[in-house]
């Protein structure tokens, strides 16, 4: 039942091609997860700030954006991007681009909420002190609030990165060669589902569990916000 030989034979393909993205196919769980979280966070900062804007015509679209994407399955968003991007951009988009766009747009809704909570955790006096020193609103946000908010956000950001890391497996639905797709490919050749899928489950688990331990230790070090 537990045939470790099949894992050993396919280890380079699973880990190099599937996990890291080094090989003949465009793929890699990490190569998708890392740019997704970085770009998603950038978009999330704008959405988080927009959600707190005093003007309703800035706030409302941000609220709708967040509520919309939190009410729709990620699989649906991936299919949206898969079909809509070629129509809008008038050209074929590789799977990596489609998956990246879907994850950035989807995760930005969740990351925006984390940014909003982080900003709200900064004491009001800090904003007033910044204004008293002659900083403009944007400067106060950039130099006073965001640096402090970021510190409070770090544990939630790590947690969200874990979620995103697991979600990247869904990119295999549109044919992106990530760890899950690599396991499918290997299984189609070897027909050894039990050891193969258990092996990638353990790979995912080692990554996510170590990250969640790290998030917990950060939480303890930073202390409750």
């Amino acid at each position: 039942m537990l045939d470790l030989d099949v894992i050993w034979r396919n280890f380079p393909f699973l880990m190099l091609q599937g996990f890291l993205g080094i090989g003949n196919f465009v793929g890699g769980t990490l190569r998708l997860a890392i740019p997704s979280i970085v770009l998603g966070f950038v978009l999330g900062i704008f959405i988080g700030i927009a959600r707190l804007a005093p003007q309703w015509w800035i706030r409302m679209p941000a609220v709708l954006y967040v509520e919309f994407f939190r009410g729709v399955p990620l699989v649906m968003v991936i299919f949206w991007m898969w079909f809509i991007m070629p129509i809008v951009l008038h050209t074929a988009i590789p799977e990596f681009g489609v998956a990246l766009a879907a994850f950035v747009i989807f995760e930005a809704a969740y990351l925006g909420e984390i940014v909003r909570a982080g900003i709200q955790s900064v004491p009001r006096g800090q904003v007033e002190a910044g204004t008293a020193l002659g900083l403009s609103g944007a400067q106060g946000m950039r130099f006073v609030i965001l640096p402090q908010a970021l510190k409070n956000m770090i544990p939630s950001l790590v947690t969200q990165f874990i979620v995103l890391f697991k979600d990247t497996s869904l990119a295999s639905i549109i044919g992106f060669m990530d760890l899950t797709k690599a396991a499918q490919v290997v299984n189609n050749r070897e027909i050894r589902p039990f050891p193969i899928y258990l092996f990638i489950a353990v790979v995912y688990w080692v990554c996510t569990y170590s990250m969640s331990r790290y998030a917990r230790s950060l939480e303890k070090r930073i202390g409750p916000a």
Binding site: M1, F68, R70, G71, V72, P73, L74, V75, M76, F79, W80, F83, I84, I87, H90, I162, K166, D167, T168, S169, L170, S172, I173, T180, A183, Q184, N187, P193, F194, Y197, L198, I200, A201, Y204, W205, T208, Y209, S212
Partner: protein, 240 residues
């Protein structure tokens, strides 16, 4: 190449029927998986707070292993890896009664159960330890204390995060399309395949998901107000 909209594909042909059957399958899958997840979540969440360490370790192992691996991997695992290990009689029954549906129920239920468990654990841990001590002091066994004192309070406290997780379960049921369960997203794809009208089909599926999520959230915020425990801050009108 300009995209030609043709919304009538949604109500001509069999599209409406497909969407309806997809919606029903999504609800069936979600409800059965939810029951499994709730049972697993309550038991393992409670076990994670007991003194007896072997039970606590077993529950912790379940939660940490299942919730930290992608649901898609569990779908493949339950669909491809588990059935060959089962006795022939069970295999025959499963193949005759929709193996993919039951594999999806197991994958979704066991995965979400681990997530429910964390919610329940934090609910139990927010109840002062003195409540357990008081009930043991009044002569209840530990099991009775959990059954009659701790769990009834904890379950009311966790309605908002529990609703959130239940909505996650509903949305996650879309992953079952990878093992060809004919749920809502699968049927949306089917309409797209038959009519080549992707935007219309995806809009229909998306709107149905949004309506489901918003209406469940609305109902649950009403339930939350009805079951709020007077005198607790969490019993207030805070959402999420």
């Amino acid at each position: 190449m300009r995209y030609q909209f043709n919304w009538s594909v949604l109500w001509t042909g069999e599209s409406g029927l497909w969407l309806l059957s997809g919606l029903i399958t999504t609800l069936e899958l979600s409800i059965v998986a939810w029951l499994l997840a709730a049972a697993l979540g309550v038991v393992s969440g409670a076990l994670r707070t007991v003194r007896f360490w072997p039970l606590r370790v077993a529950a912790t192992f379940y939660v940490e292993f299942f919730r930290n691996v992608p649901l898609l991997v569990w779908m493949f695992f339950w669909y491809f890896a588990i059935p060959p290990l089962l006795p022939q009689l069970v295999q025959d029954w499963l193949f005759a009664h929709g193996l993919e549906f039951w594999a999806a129920v197991c994958a979704l239920g066991v995965y979400s159960g681990a997530r429910f468990s964390e919610v329940l654990r934090s609910g139990i841990q927010s109840i002062p330890r003195t409540q357990l001590e008081a009930s043991v002091a009044s002569g209840l066994t530990t099991f009775q204390a959990y059954r009659y004192v701790i769990l009834p309070v904890a379950l009311r406290l966790i309605i908002p995060p529990g609703t959130n997780e239940s909505l996650n379960l509903l949305k996650n049921s879309s992953v079952a399309l990878t093992i060809s369960v004919a749920e809502l997203t699968f049927q949306t794809r089917q309409i797209e395949t038959y009519t080549a009208k992707a935007i219309e089909a995806l809009t229909a599926g998306t709107v149905i998901y949004l309506i489901l999520c918003v209406s469940i959230a609305t109902i649950m915020s009403w339930v939350e107000r009805r079951t709020a425990i007077p005198g607790l801050i969490v019993g207030g009108r805070q959402r999420r």
